[in-house]
Symmetry: C2
Subunit: 429 residues, 2 copies
Amino acid sequence: METFKYSDLSKGDITHLVQRNVDPANEIRALVENVIEQVKQHGDSALLNYAEQFDKVELTKLYLNKAELEELASAVSEDQQEALQTAYANIYKFHKAQLKQEDKVETMPGVTCWRELRAIEKVGLYIPGGTAVLPSTFLMLGIPARIAGCNEIVVCSPPQKNGKVNAFIAYVALMLGIDKVYLVGGSQAVAAMAYGTESITKVDKIFGPGNQFVTKAKTIIQSTTTTAIDMPAGPSEVLVIADNTAKPAYVAADLLAQAEHGVDSQSILVCTSETIVQQTLAEVEKQLAVLPRAEIAKQAIDNSYVIITQNLDEAMDFSNQYAPEHLILATTNWQQLTAKIINAGSVFLGNLTPESAGDYASGTNHTLPTSSYARAYSGVSVDSFVKKITFQYLTEEGIQNIGPSVEILAEMEGLHAHRNAVTVRMNNK
Amino acid sequence: METFKYSDLSKGDITHLVQRNVDPANEIRALVENVIEQVKQHGDSALLNYAEQFDKVELTKLYLNKAELEELASAVSEDQQEALQTAYANIYKFHKAQLKQEDKVETMPGVTCWRELRAIEKVGLYIPGGTAVLPSTFLMLGIPARIAGCNEIVVCSPPQKNGKVNAFIAYVALMLGIDKVYLVGGSQAVAAMAYGTESITKVDKIFGPGNQFVTKAKTIIQSTTTTAIDMPAGPSEVLVIADNTAKPAYVAADLLAQAEHGVDSQSILVCTSETIVQQTLAEVEKQLAVLPRAEIAKQAIDNSYVIITQNLDEAMDFSNQYAPEHLILATTNWQQLTAKIINAGSVFLGNLTPESAGDYASGTNHTLPTSSYARAYSGVSVDSFVKKITFQYLTEEGIQNIGPSVEILAEMEGLHAHRNAVTVRMNNK
């Protein structure tokens, strides 16, 4: 990991360091557009063809039903079931608290306004398969969808070579009360959920991470259809702010946990202590040696860097410019720092709170804005699965109170019919 | 307006009727991409050139300062000032109530999670000028930005032929405490706020309606940069549900208020009473005759339609499929209908609540999802100007409680470094 002194960096250096490539896959655009067009035109038969072509499996039908999911799920051990249930319970508890009805506001006498939540009716969840099977992602998307009360939850996951999904995915589906999983992956899954096919319902919003083809399909869908997406996605990343109260072994473990995701993951250490940096880098080497995914993690670590700052304020300053997906405050004095956080997806406080806890089971969502999107986007929550509809009600007193102002404002904008809609009501008591 | 009986319509007919064209401007993509590229490369000088080319004005500088805004604002009459202040007060009151801190949740002993709001640091507001000058839009975007606490609010509005902005825009800027308005319009304004120029700050999120060039620029920016946008935008629309308690003169006025926006506006009437339909259509003719924007409104009305249903449930059913930006319930029995609303942007309840009230001054936001985007998107609110960052804190008890589950889950996903980040903390008490 290359090491920089914060005080040595120019504004341009920092801009360069915090830059991530947000549109790396433009060369695959034509390919993905073609897949979308094929699915739009040929529906299920295109999906069956792509399963053969991309997933190397000849499917006889496009989904697993409840009985098939139950059979697969029976392979999940008791320990694993308990772990999934703990994660479920914590995620459920934290997300359930997000569902709040709001009070009515009387903005002036006789004029009452409020917002009501409504679940998005039809949502699509994309659960990656292939090399990384992520039952945790399924929990992170399925639980808030259930809490919101979405009417229809369509789940797509790429088929394994045996034409099935992993046992954990099957188990989570049943936990969520979902009794059908579509064996569709990649950009074809996104296209199927956006346009609908003979067997797959067209949805209103698509959620879930994926490879560059999935991501590109989501951004194309977002700009060409009315189907929304959760957020743009890039490689995962962590930024650890550490001072001399940090534990090098813990910090190293956190950096490596991020690094094992993929060679394009970023693990940034921002530290006020050169000693802690040296000890941490030594720990990274030590822990890396015994990791099964060492080759991936090593490449990611080599592409990452360390910033040494004079104090925690400077560290926070850099972090806000980086806008990390995950921010770990590896310091006993985290309480004085939280108010200074401006841009981050999810924050892990103190030396005993690893990112892994939030990745799986603390209760927070792990679907988070990467690539500095945390400047403007929040992570997935129950909010992502609902709309907030505004309502207003005017009494006779209300229309008389507000009417004159509306008449003048409509006139100012040259919109006479807008004015008239108020005038007819004021005059026809 | 063409009239259909709901019971005569097939599922395909309904799909056709509720369809809006969401990507009408694809042929302008290359043009807009070129403008974006020019602004990206040449900054301010590109903006000055476009002002000459598109706005037909030779600017000596790109913005109006506080003194210039004050001079322009002095032309606003006392009545107009009062009307703007009433609107400001109501919008402020309703939006202020949206800003709520949330409680902490202890998901299991020693594991505490919560969300904190943070304002998006830098936001860009696009305020249309030219034929439609919309000070109300400026209020609808500026007030929630101020309530959220955005650090920097960049405002772009196209220059008039005299190189200035309209007096109302200037007045609203000063109301909002904004002392600089950039004289930049169209897709070049979106590009300037997304990439930054010598004088214009690069922002994290861009808000505001605009013509097809502005809209196209926003969707391109959204998919190629980390700058977010408020929502996709299409022509404005209203759907009025009326029964035999509706007042034809009011309904007609509401349909026309929408129709005067533009020839592509839609004004849909869904009604349980043929008599009310006939009376409303007669009223439309009558009111249309005296409207200054009659030519525009007539074309929009001709492109709109009426659906006759057997009851209000059918009417609501159609409305939810249409997913209107504005929904007016022109019935005295609106209380029994609100729970059945699934898809809508903003709802106007009863015979005395015109859409104009919400367009200007009731307090709700008028920046709303059009084109059936209301299926998945909410209108602009304070939420649109903040991120919700998740936090988690584990005590020694917490890591021991949650640790075993995280270890098993990480193992299930084959992520050993994730497991290790927990293990080192559990073992090193």
